[in-house]
Amino acid sequence: MNKIFSKSWMIAVYVFLYMPIITLVVFSFNDSQLVTVWSHASIRWYHVLVHDRELISAVALSLRIAFLSALLSVFFGTFTAFALNRYKRFRGRTLLSSMASTPLVMPDVIVGLSLLLMLVSMQQWWGFPERGLLTILLGHALLGTAYATVVVTSRLREMDGKLDEAAMDLGCQPFQVFKLVTLPLLAPALVSAFLLTFTLSFDDVVLSSFLSGPGYSTLPMVVFSRARLGLNPTINAVATVTITVVSIAVIVSSFYQSRAERKRKLEVAQAYSDSNQ
């Protein structure tokens, strides 16, 4: 009885989570003009997509911004986390630690608006920066840094501070400690911080809308603006392509991970049989 209940519960959750995505993928192969009415299967909208310059360039821009802002976020986030975690006493530490997480709780609209106001007045005084890729990047990096700081901080916190001391004891100067011990141990956290900030940037619409200039529309902005004019299944096609790419990336990485795991287990077994000889 219990088993049936838990199984049906699981299926319900899966349906709830993935039904919309499946519907979206299925309807991307719909021939009809209308997103919600099924006529018959075709790849018509993929043809349209390939020739939709606006959509293609929006995807390219979104990818570029997401990649760069994720890099910036991880870079600044790591150093912020490091400073907060390893240096317990410096002027303004409390201020920094609370300010670092403020963008997490601040509504995007407020952050976007205040950034816009700042950039507008900056442009009036110095004629720089022109609103476009750079300003969107700035906004996304600002938000991403806050998230990356949280991810890296939690990893740093559970890392044994004794390891740093051990490295120093064995002759490492502070920078070498960071390079040889802290960084390799942080690597998984850095990867997940990168992926998190990448997706954050990739699907952000609020900040981008405030910060973009003419000719710079990210994918979510284009989707959003088209939705107001009535959607057309090209959007489904774009989404399907994105999902496919992401799925392939996830499958490949998990395949490599499990292979590395298997290899490691094999080595352990080898070591055991060696020590028994």
């Binding site: 044994d160 004794k162 390891l163 001391e165 051990a166 490295a167 120093m168 004891d169 064995l170 002759g171 490492c172 100067q173 070498q176 040889l180 011990v181 390799p184 141990l185 080595e267 352990v268 070591a271 060696d274 020590s275």
Partner: protein
């Protein structure tokens, strides 16, 4: 290390600490004006409860804490303000602090690579260390694939790799279970002696300190209470605190009645102690007499024997009480005796035959007696 030849020149004291003090937040004295010298080849133990300052002292030696006052000299050279990575001192950390992303081999080679040692020399050095700690077969494993005892050996090999002039051990056996401890203790001492490195070791476990160290400093509240060889500290504690901290002890409070150069008597409420040596005190002084449980003999009948060079027992060195608790340890049994004054003393009897020969049971009246050389008179 460039400073290595100097060690031989001043062989007598490798490590000299003068008036070392560490004050936290301007108020808490973690280490209070400590001076000590450690001779080359010695294993020196800092023994004390938690918060006694032993770890702070060790961390100052390693260079992780800066002393508020005082100096540290290693082989005659002032290293007080040298950062840890420039000191010819290595440390074996409490929970080993092995680098989880590096293999056993790389862990041991870590410090050598930092020194820019040629690759072949590193290979040779690491191989010989792996042989020393018997881990040659596990060289490729990561720390999490090792048992606690193996990790401990890797940590030891890593701390010995750079051939430090001074090796610091922070609770070296703290993370091992009891059975493994005993075998590891001796193994550790053997390796340290084989390498011939001078050690300062921190522990809260008196057994660990007694078996491993050649000298022990008993610490409390940031100061040394007593420094001496294990048997000195055990048999001749200089204060109630030390007597109480190391092993079990029965303490009688009394007043010096007879003060002769070759003996004294101390009258306590429970009995009169006849101590077979002189003390630095005078008649009428109030003192404590410390008596270890294993030095007390129990009998059912009033002791009639001679306790000292033919002198009859008389009124000296015995008391009578009721057995209120019997704790059986296998090798020995501890009896708790409640005396007329209300004081409970412990007497430890060796179970030398399989029938528990003493024949005492709960509620029995028993007599405890001891020799004139069994106790220590404590004036503080």
């Amino acid at each position: 290390m460039a400073t290595a030849p100097k060690a031989k020149a001043v062989r007598e004291d490798l490590l000299r600490v003068e008036g070392l003090t560490k004050i936290y937040d301007g108020a808490v004295k973690a280490v209070d004006n400590i001076s000590l010298t450690v001779t080359t080849g010695e294993i020196f133990a800092l023994l004390g409860g938690s918060g006694c300052g032993k770890s702070t002292l060790l961390r100052m030696l390693a260079g992780f804490e800066t002393p508020t006052q005082g100096k540290i000299y290693l082989a005659g050279e002032d290293i007080t303000h040298l950062p840890p990575y420039k000191r010819p001192i290595n440390m074996m950390f409490q929970s080993y602090a092995l680098f989880p992303h590096l293999s056993v081999w790389e862990n041991i080679a870590f410090g050598l690579k930092r020194d820019g040692m040629p690759k072949n020399d590193i290979n040779d050095r690491v191989e010989s260390l792996l042989g020393l700690v018997q881990l040659t077969k596990l060289a490729k494993r990561k720390p999490h694939q090792l048992s606690g005892g193996q990790q401990q050996r890797v940590a030891l090999a890593r701390s010995l790799a750079k051939r430090p002039q001074l090796l610091l051990l922070d609770e070296p056996l703290g993370a091992l279970d009891k059975k493994l401890r005993e075998s590891t203790q001796l193994e550790l001492v053997n390796i340290i002696e084989e390498v011939g490195v001078t050690c300062v070791l921190v522990t809260h476990d008196q057994e660990e300190a007694m078996t491993m160290a050649s000298r022990i400093a008993v610490m409390s509240e940031g100061s040394f209470m007593q420094v001496g060889s294990p048997d000195e500290v055990y048999e001749m504690p200089n204060s109630r605190h030390v007597a109480d901290f190391i092993g079990n002890v029965n303490i009688f409070d009394g007043v010096v009645e007879v003060d002769e150069p070759d003996h004294v008597t101390v009258r306590c409420e429970e009995c009169v102690h006849y101590v077979g040596h002189g003390i630095s005190g005078n008649t009428g002084m109030s003192v404590s007499v410390a008596l270890r449980p294993e030095k007390i003999l129990l009998s059912k009948n009033k002791p009639q024997g001679e306790f000292n060079k033919g002198k009859p027992q008389g009124e000296f060195n015995w008391c009578e009480g009721e057995v209120i608790e019997i704790v059986y340890f296998g090798a020995h049994t501890t009896y708790h005796l409640k005396l007329a004054s209300g004081l409970v003393i412990k007497a430890q009897e060796l179970n030398s035959t399989r029938d528990l020969s003493c024949g005492l049971t709960w509620g029995d009246r028993a007599y405890a007696h001891w020799s004139d050389l069994a106790m220590v008179v404590l004036t503080q």
